[in-house]
Symmetry: C2
Subunit: 201 residues, 2 copies
DNA sequence: TTCATTATGACACAGCGTGTCATAAGGTGG
DNA sequence: CCACCTTATGACACGCTGTGTCATAATGAA
């Protein structure tokens, strides 16, 4: 079942082989967005430029926004992993803040080409509909942060607000970094974490 | 020019009178959403139930989400006004936090029926697409908060992150209040402001 | 070779949001 | 009272998104 599932595990034994490279399509879309404009570029245009059908395009990118946000997923995931790694060291409040800082910064390391990410984030910043999606795209990350705080003894309500504030601030940091020309996003992220007040610290 | 502009000032001298009551339509839509489900209720359904054309519906509510978020606008606006009112009293850092607290709470006063707002917010909480819109809907408020902080001497970058965090936290407070049964949202909002670290305080 | 499995695309569909244009319904000046 | 202007409304058509359905292509396995 679930016939529509592009390569769930790494191993595949039978069936027609995959001929579509999602990464290539995403970067092609990015190029088209830059040339023609985001809303003036239809999914049909992208599919045609990629030489595939519109339906096939939707199989790999469930929405137009996903063509942009999909590329940010490794960054988000790395940040989440760092957060869970920080759990291993049991922490007083100072470690708690350090954990948030580490998580915020961890995403930077997995970015192979910062200029591509900057392009993506600029596109996101310029289009409210894309920026809005941050709430959904960062939801897993927010949830992980909440869990992290809970385990470290932060009261439930506080953990909820703190994780929301944490993600909003760091997202804004990425936005500001993308808008400028500084090569390193880390100072922006660290400054963002500074606006949080962690209980007991 | 700008022929499509439903009643810009309060005074109108000529032309066909308005027969559509936006508030009635919004509450009708809310009812339909509750009965049928948000995504299963089409704009066509709402228009038909209201006895008007789909195009007329779009004249008053520019999107389906606007049927929900539009009703929150007075609350958001009141919060913004409170923020600017707090500007009149020049403030040290303590007043700054107090200003944020006051602004967060100010919206509560203008809500005539808390249960209706709770219904709206629950709908928002249950639908990621609606929750996402918080980023857009609260953007003016975020900008006002940023200005407020700037004028009070908060560094620009800090103001940016702080206002983002402030709005995310208070929005989450509204979500939590809506999810429960407590009559008063104020304690939630105050707790949300607590997770912010204001420079110099 | 035949079969099972999987990728792809052609097609159709509901729904959103936007234009354009005709018509209705009230005012105002003659 | 009538012609005229202004404005609200709705009928229609359009492009686009996202989804479902189904036929077809391309491979490995039996």
């Amino acid at each position: 079942m679930l016939p529509d599932d592009p390569e769930p595990p790494g191993m595949r034994s039978a069936g027609r082989p995959v001929t579509i490279d999602p990464d290539a399509i995403a970067s092609l879309a990015l190029r088209l967005f830059a040339e023609i404009g985001y809303e003036r570029t239809s999914m049909e245009d992208i599919a045609r430029a990629a030489g595939i059908g519109r339906k096939s395009l939707y199989r790999y990118f469930s929405s137009k926004a996903d063509l942009i946000w999909g590329g940010m997923e490794p960054v988000i995931a790395a940040s989440g992993t760092a957060l869970e790694g920080a759990l291993d060291q049991r922490g007083d409040s100072e470690d708690l803040v350090a954990g948030l800082r580490a998580a915020a910064v961890a995403g930077v390391a997995v970015i192979s080409d910062l200029s591509v990410s900057r392009g993506r984030l600029r596109l996101i910043a310029e289009h409210p509909e894309l920026a809005s999606r941050s709430y959904e795209s960062l939801a897993p990350q927010r949830e992980r942060a909440r869990q992290h705080l809970l385990v470290l003894g932060v009261p439930e309500e506080t953990a909820c607000y703190l994780s929301a504030a944490y993600l909003a601030a760091t997202f804004e940091a990425w936005m500001r970094w993308a808008a400028g020309t500084d090569p390193d996003p880390v100072p922006y992220l660290l400054a963002a974490v500074e606006v949080l007040r962690v209980p007991g610290a």
